[in-house]
């Protein structure tokens, strides 16, 4: 935990790590797991799934999930499907997960090599949904008007993680090639790179305009970058993509290079594992590997009452079981000792205003939280800028009353969107 300085007039200053020494640059390989679990997006309903337990699959295989063939999954192991189970995801949505029991060595599927190797938008949508680094080609390719500015993230979205910086430092060649693929796939007219200023030299080698960012949270959030580059803020409730700006992680760009060079869809993810002492270790693990296996390989012990977070300290998601797997967007696994867990309180807002001063989006959080506590989601959105929130979590981080403000906000956004879609379907 980064404490508030004794004299605390200024905003919190939370710095991203900057990759410096060789040791931090090394990546430890995690052995192949016995079993992989792959999460499906919450919109896929269990009754529609055509995969069955007992189906044989091989690594890199594109598995059709539904009858119409639009939704798919990339198998990350060679073996047998053991089951499809239901999980409770973020904010209580149910989502499905497919488990595959691995049987021996990888056999690679050939479909991508045979018909996916031309760089076209269709192929990107058809094969790259589960690429490590989680590129969102759906958003990059399907918005109208189309996304014409793409920003390559050289800084990870959360603190303590430096995967993308690592890519810039150690895989510059591969990055340059990946950028060419990206240009062909998206036909975006302009590309930018965002890196901390220490890495501008590496980034400039790619020939793409570089935007050096002061690596202090939350400067790297998409909305803030969009505003700085376009000079125009994203209206509340809109996405950056609707303004024509899309984002992709450097890790996803080099995954493209690997896919085209090897004719195989990459299935390994770089994950920063942050132990209880906050010292990060980089590992490479098969997507779908249970967290348990990774902790075991690194000799990290957890006890009753500890906390495990997928993602970083500001925006991650706590998991309730060590069986949860690494997903294409799992940038970090953070283990928190039970003594360091931050527990929200049931106190009222004391109106100190710390959150208002910390909020990068100028949301009147002190008023907002009062409405959200009482479930007044529509008023919150209309009068108190609920939808302007860019989801940084700083309000909770600074709250003197330790109210789980960010939780209230995310729940509020979710409930508000449900109210809206209910109204639309009634209209």
């Amino acid at each position: 935990m980064i404490k508030r300085p004794f004299f605390g007039l200024a905003r919190p200053s939370l710095k991203h790590p900057v990759v410096v020494n060789r040791e931090q640059d090394s990546v430890e390989e995690i052995p192949l797991p016995q079993k992989v679990t792959l999460f499906l997006s919450p919109h896929i309903k269990i009754d529609d799934i055509i995969l069955r337990a007992g189906d044989k699959v091989i690594t890199g295989q594109r598995l059709k999930l539904t009858g119409d063939g639009k939704d798919y999954l990339i198998s990350t192991a060679t073996g047998t499907i053991t089951g499809i189970s239901e999980y409770t995801g973020y904010l209580g949505q149910t989502c499905q997960a497919v488990s595959i029991e691995a049987a021996g060595d990888d056999q690679w599927d050939d479909e991508f090599n045979e018909r996916g190797k031309t760089t076209s938008p269709e192929n990107a949508l058809e094969f790259f949904n589960y690429l490590p680094g989680n590129p969102d080609f759906q958003s990059l390719l399907s918005f109208q008007p189309p996304v014409n500015t793409i920003i390559i993230n050289g800084i990870d979205k959360d603190l303590l993680i430096a995967t993308n910086q690592l890519v810039f430092k150690t895989e510059t060649e591969s990055l340059i090639e990946g950028i060419e693929h990206l240009k062909k796939i998206t036909r975006a007219s302009s590309l930018f790179i965002t890196v901390p200023s220490d890495l501008t030299a590496e980034a400039e080698k790619t020939g793409v305009p570089v935007h050096a960012v002061n690596p202090v949270y939350p400067n790297i959030l998409p909305e803030i970058i969009t505003k700085n580059i376009l000079g125009r803020a994203v209206p509340p409730g809109k996405r950056c993509e609707e303004m024509g700006v899309g984002f992709i992680n450097a890790e996803a760009v080099v995954s493209l290079t690997r896919a085209f060079a090897e004719g195989k869809i990459p299935v390994d993810k770089i994950v920063t594992v942050i132990n209880k002492d906050y010292i990060p270790v980089n590992i490479r693990a098969r997507i779908g590997t249970p967290v348990k296996d990774i902790l075991k390989a690194l000799n990290i012990e957890t006890e009753h009452g500890d906390q495990i977070v997928l993602g970083g300290p500001m925006t991650g998601t706590a998991i309730y079981s060590e069986d949860m797997p690494v997903s294409p967007d799992t940038d970090a696994i953070m283990v928190l000792d039970k003594k360091r867990i931050v527990l929200g309180s049931g106190s009222h807002c004391i109106n100190c205003g710390e959150c208002v001063r910390a909020c990068p989006a100028r949301v009147p959080v002190n008023m907002l939280v009062r409405l959200l506590e009482n479930g007044l989601y529509e008023e919150a959105a209309e009068q108190y800028d609920l939808l302007s929130c860019i989801e940084c979590g700083l309000c909770s981080y600074v709250c003197v009353a330790r109210i789980p403000v960010f939780h209230y906000i995310m729940l509020g956004k979710y409930e508000f969107s449900r109210i809206q879609s209910a109204e639309e379907s009634n209209a």
């Binding site: 605390g8 505003k227 209206p235 906390q307 706590a318 009222h348 009147p364 909770s396």
Partner: protein
């Protein structure tokens, strides 16, 4: 079940900057210490008695109210103790025990708990109590009567009433340095200007109170008093005198800055402080009360929700049609 390893789940963020309500309360107590110690030094045991009784009563009322309303017990956050402490600092050292008991009752129950507890009070609780006592038991709050048996070696007439009733000719009895160092009659913790300023600066630097409010209040007092003073120098005291006497300094740093009843946005904070300063001097110079700070602050407390509507546009707002 007992041997099973369970993980703790919660929502992001998983870090916190470590601030807390209790930490804030303790800082307030620490910041009040210089002025409080001076009060005890000047008025001796009676002052200590009033302080101790007030703090403990405030905590007891809070506890009783928590129990009666089946709320979680909240005396641990130190807020009740701070309310009790500030209330005692405003009282003369001779305040009788029943006055303290009744005052803390008003502060905690009517000033804070009936609105829903910490953060929900529209007024500063300590000031609600002082105001009710000023109206109900006037003579106990008249510092000239209350402190009649004390002779501390300086001019013992309450400075604000001296000027109000005798004009600026009495000013020769006061020196500005003397006022700053606590050589004036007044509440237990309100007279030692230097101590209050040090405590206030400490709170500002720690980020517990906002400089915008304190500074604009002091400026408001200064400017208003300045114009009165030019208009009639025989009748109205000069600005510095107003800042160093009565409840001005404790108001600037400890009372006006109370979180729940003060605004959080930049411009509203400035207006809030300045208006409070203006009203304070207005009431002092042409109102019925000797010190206007109490009612001035309660008045601006009312305007706080309205003032706080003046706020910057949220990011991206108003750009839809740009």
């Amino acid at each position: 079940m007992h041997n099973q390893k369970l993980l703790v789940s919660s929502h992001a963020p998983y870090w916190h900057n470590g601030s807390s309500i209790s930490g804030k309360s303790y800082s307030f107590m620490l910041a009040a210490l210089p002025a409080v110690i001076m009060g005890i030094y000047q008025y001796g045991l009676p002052a200590l008695g009033v302080l101790a009784l007030s703090i403990s009563c405030a905590m007891i009322w809070e506890l009783l109210m928590d129990l009666a309303m089946r709320r979680p017990v909240s005396i641990g956050d130190g807020n009740a103790a701070v309310i009790g402490l500030l209330f005692a600092m405003l009282l003369p050292a001779t305040a009788p025990w029943w006055l303290v008991v009744a005052g803390t009752f008003v502060a905690i129950i009517i000033g804070k708990q009936i609105y829903g507890g910490i953060g929900c009070n529209p007024f500063n609780p300590s000031l609600v109590a002082i105001a009710i006592i000023m109206l109900s038991w006037k003579s106990f709050m008249d510092f000239n009567e209350a402190l009649v048996n004390y002779d501390l070696g300086f001019y013992m007439v309450y400075p604000l009433s001296a000027v109000k009733h005798m004009g600026t000719s009495v000013l020769s009895n006061f020196s500005m340095t003397g006022l700053l160092l606590g050589q004036q009659a007044g509440g237990i913790g309100t007279t030692f200007g230097l101590g209050l300023i040090i405590g206030g600066l400490y709170l500002i630097l720690r980020g517990h109170i906002r400089w915008e409010i304190s500074l604009s209040f002091l400026l408001g007092v200064f400017v208003t008093a300045y114009f009165f003073n030019i208009a009639d120098p025989d009748k109205y005291a000069p600005p510095l005198f107003h800042i160093l006497t009565g409840y001005s300094l404790i108001a600037a740093f400890f009372l006006l800055t109370e979180d729940s009843s003060s605004p959080v946005n930049f411009v509203p904070m400035l207006i809030y402080g300045a208006v409070a300063g203006f009203l304070t001097v207005l009431i002092r110079n042409i109102g019925a009360f000797v010190d206007g700070a109490v009612f001035a602050i309660l008045l601006v407390n009312v305007s706080n929700p309205l003032l706080d509507k003046i706020r910057p546009k949220a990011m991206g707002k108003g750009t839809e049609h740009a």
